[in-house]
């Protein structure tokens, strides 16, 4: 029986061959129609987005970065050790001795909409790959009924992680709980309950009317 890793490596070789043939074909085509120099011209890389932070030569390791900057200038931050702070949402997805957690550093990090925070855009955050021992300290995960813990992690950022199929992630080595989360208290909306009751009674009356009217049209 072929082991799955062997299957993947065979597949990988086949894909590489396929891609090589395709690339040679494309280059040959370009060389014939546009000349060798143009065919081999290097395309410009995607430039840095100056509206978001990016590392310079003297940027120290472990600097705190937000999720938007990591996405907008992913290639520049790739392979750097950074610090990232956010609310833990969803759940910890355990994979052996490691675990996936998701940290949101958006406008709802300290207070979410269910706690009547101001609307201020989408969620944004990052996936973090961390040891389950470190993640065990997390008490609250953000959802409808909870405001999650806010944690600060430090680790290496990958624009396309070679270990995780090209996912953009942070491999964290430390975790510090900045704020413990809590349950969200929802106040029962009485006026909404009364409106709903009135509408449902009205619907019941209309339903009776409909039966009467339909019986007339049936003949």
């Amino acid at each position: 029986m072929i082991h799955w890793q062997e299957t993947i490596s065979v597949l990988s070789v086949d894909l590489k061959r396929f891609w090589l043939t395709f690339a040679i074909g494309v280059n040959l085509f370009l060389s014939i129609f546009s000349g060798f120099a143009l065919a081999q011209a290097t395309p410009p890389n995607i430039p840095l987005n100056p509206d978001f932070t990016f590392p310079g030569k003297d940027t120290p390791q472990g600097v705190e970065v937000n999720s938007a900057s990591l996405v907008e200038n992913a290639n520049a931050w790739n392979g750097r050790v950074i610090t990232f702070k956010g609310e833990v949402i969803g759940e910890a997805m355990v994979r052996g001795k490691m675990v996936w957690i998701h940290l949101n550093d958006d406008a709802y990090m300290w207070k979410n909409i269910e706690e009547e925070a101001k609307l201020d855009g989408y969620n944004s955050g990052h996936a973090v790959w961390i040891s389950s021992d470190l993640a065990m300290g997390i008490r609250f995960f953000g959802d409808f009924k909870h405001e999650g813990d806010v944690v600060k992690i430090a680790g290496m950022f990958h624009a396309a992680c070679p270990q995780h199929g090209g996912d953009m992630d942070i491999h964290a080595s430390t975790l510090e709980i900045v704020r413990v989360g809590h349950s969200v208290h929802h106040v029962f909306n009485t006026s909404r309950a009364i409106t709903a009751a009135v509408l449902l009674v009205l619907a019941l009356v209309l339903y009776r009317f409909r039966i009467i009217i339909r019986s007339r049209y049936a003949f």
Binding site: L15, I46, W100, G121, F144, D167, L206
Partner: protein, 500 residues
């Protein structure tokens, strides 16, 4: 001469629109039950209020517009477009009441996106919404995929001769069975059977990935609904990226590929003709255009050296392109990654895939494979005609359930619809560029809305200009209904003022 619609015409339209709106109230029972089960009392109230509003509107229309006349073609088409509008307005009530939207228009945007299986969202702080609201979002997309008219036909219509006329108006014209109500029930039978099987596999996979049994089940049902309907909604803001799992990807890809196939093809394969899957023009067209889109995306990604190895590149590229081509919109990358890492070339591959889209009479959008196949065959026929003697009679055939001769009327119809799609894609692009967005990015999100795909590169956001939101809502609506119903509704408005 344009004939002005009479009160009797409005009564027919009102009666059937009322029935469809009652169907929306029926659908809301599912999220209501979910909210009650999880003790989410305020969302439960929101759904009760919305059910009340739908029933008052729907039953009110039925009482006011009761008639024994049956539908004509024009009525059927207007009923569909008007019902979709009203279903959007009323379906947005629980979303708006949740407090996660900046305006009622934003809530309507998400509802239209759900019904049309687009998947673009303006909902804010998705990671803190209730299970009930998440259920409603996914039920919207599941119901929209099969067609809300199909739901009404399945549960609320009895022996109506005109039922076929509103069924066709929703962008479906295949009769799987002789009776259209039986056809609607067959569509539900197929979808519910897949729902059970698909959700079960996703549930098992979810638990193996670290989701708890209850959360795993909810995620499985929601992701199945989204994938099968080629919707694109997901319960977390990270979309499919949340799971970090090849297994989840391996399960979801076949679901949205199968979901994007023609219901008639499903039925043929289920009931009699297994070889149909190899011969069908849409399947051949789908795999041809998908290969082209993949090569484009791959070339772009290779040039920019985005991924560390060929396996990672292929995995990301395959998921995104397949999701785009089936007009699903589930993604394993951030929206802005398209712009900031993938680059224009790979984005063009995705745009091409989204523009062409899925199969006719499916849950998907876009030009549709059948039309691409017909147009390609027509080009081949014309080329053959050019190089053949004048006396030669050139015959081209195409196969979809049965083998048919290609005629000019079929080609003209296909071209008309494709041109209409190009028109709405262009409209959204122009408006985007007008507001200062980059051309490729404006085109990306416009094509995504018009083809009901749902992938975004960051143009769609709660802060985008109101006109763009309206244009995108129109694109989603027009693209899903494939224009004829909209033309009929517009015609009714013209006739109202200019008819005699």
């Amino acid at each position: 001469m344009i004939v002005r619609p009479r009160w009797a015409d409005f009564k027919i339209i009102g009666l059937y629109t009322g029935k469809v709106v009652n169907g929306i109230a029926l659908l809301m029972v599912v999220p209501l039950a979910t909210s009650i089960f999880f003790g989410e009392w305020n969302p439960a109230l929101d759904f009760l209020l919305a059910i009340g509003a739908c029933l008052v509107f729907g039953l009110g229309l039925e009482v006011l517009c009761q008639t024994s006349r049956d539908l004509a073609w024009g009525h059927g088409l207007v009923v569909v477009s008007f019902s979709w509008l009203m279903a959007t307005v009323l379906g947005a009530i629980p979303l708006h009441l949740s407090g996660h939207f900046s305006s009622y228009l934003d809530a309507m945007f998400d509802v239209m996106s759900g019904y049309t299986t687009t998947g673009l969202i303006l909902l804010q702080d998705l990671d803190h919404v209730s299970n009930g609201l998440n259920m409603w979002r996914h039920v919207l997309t599941f119901a929209g995929g099969q067609g809300i008219i199909v739901i009404a036909l399945t549960f609320l219509f009895k022996g109506t001769a005109g039922a076929y006329k509103i069924y066709v108006g929703e962008g479906k014209d295949e009769r799987l069975l002789p009776n259209v109500i039986q056809t609607a029930r067959a569509i539900w039978l197929v979808s519910l059977a897949y729902l059970m099987v698909g959700s079960f596999f996703l549930w098992i996979a979810g638990m193996s990935l670290g989701l708890g049994p209850v959360r795993g089940l909810l995620h499985a049902v929601w992701i199945f609904m989204s994938a099968w309907s080629t919707g694109g909604f997901a319960p977390q803001s990270y979309n499919s990226f949340y799971y970090h799992s090849l297994l989840y990807e391996v399960i979801t890809v076949p679901i949205f590929v199968i979901g994007s196939f023609n219901f008639a093809l499903h039925w043929a394969v289920w009931t009699r003709e297994k070889t149909e899957i190899y011969r069908n023009i849409e399947i051949i067209s789908f795999f041809t255009t998908m290969t082209i889109a993949m090569l484009l995306a791959m070339a772009g990604l290779m040039k920019l050296n985005v991924y560390p190895d060929i396996i990672a590149l292929f995995r990301k590229m395959f998921y995104q392109v397949t999701s785009a081509h089936t007009t699903t919109g589930l993604a394993t990358i951030y929206s802005r990654t398209f712009v900031r890492q993938w680059g224009a070339m790979a984005m063009l591959g995705i745009i091409l895939a989204m523009a062409i889209g899925a199969s006719a009479c499916s849950t998907g959008g876009g030009f549709k494979g059948i039309r691409m196949g017909i147009i390609f065959k027509a080009v081949i026929q014309d080329v053959r005609r050019l190089i053949s003697p004048e006396s030669a009679r050139i015959v081209e055939k195409w196969h979809h359930i049965s083998t048919r001769l290609l005629d000019d009327a079929t080609v003209r119809t296909a071209m008309l619809i494709v041109l209409s799609y190009v028109g709405i894609y262009a409209l959204g692009t122009v408006v985007g560029v007008y507001y200062g967005y980059d051309l490729v990015q404006a085109m990306f999100d416009s094509v995504s809305a018009g083809s009901n795909s749902g992938l975004s590169c960051g143009v769609v956001s709660p802060t985008m200009p109101t006109l763009m939101k309206v244009v995108y809502i129109f694109e989603m609506w027009a693209g899903r209904l494939e224009f004829m119903s909209l033309f009929a509704l517009a015609g009714y408005w013209v006739a109202l003022f200019r008819g005699r």
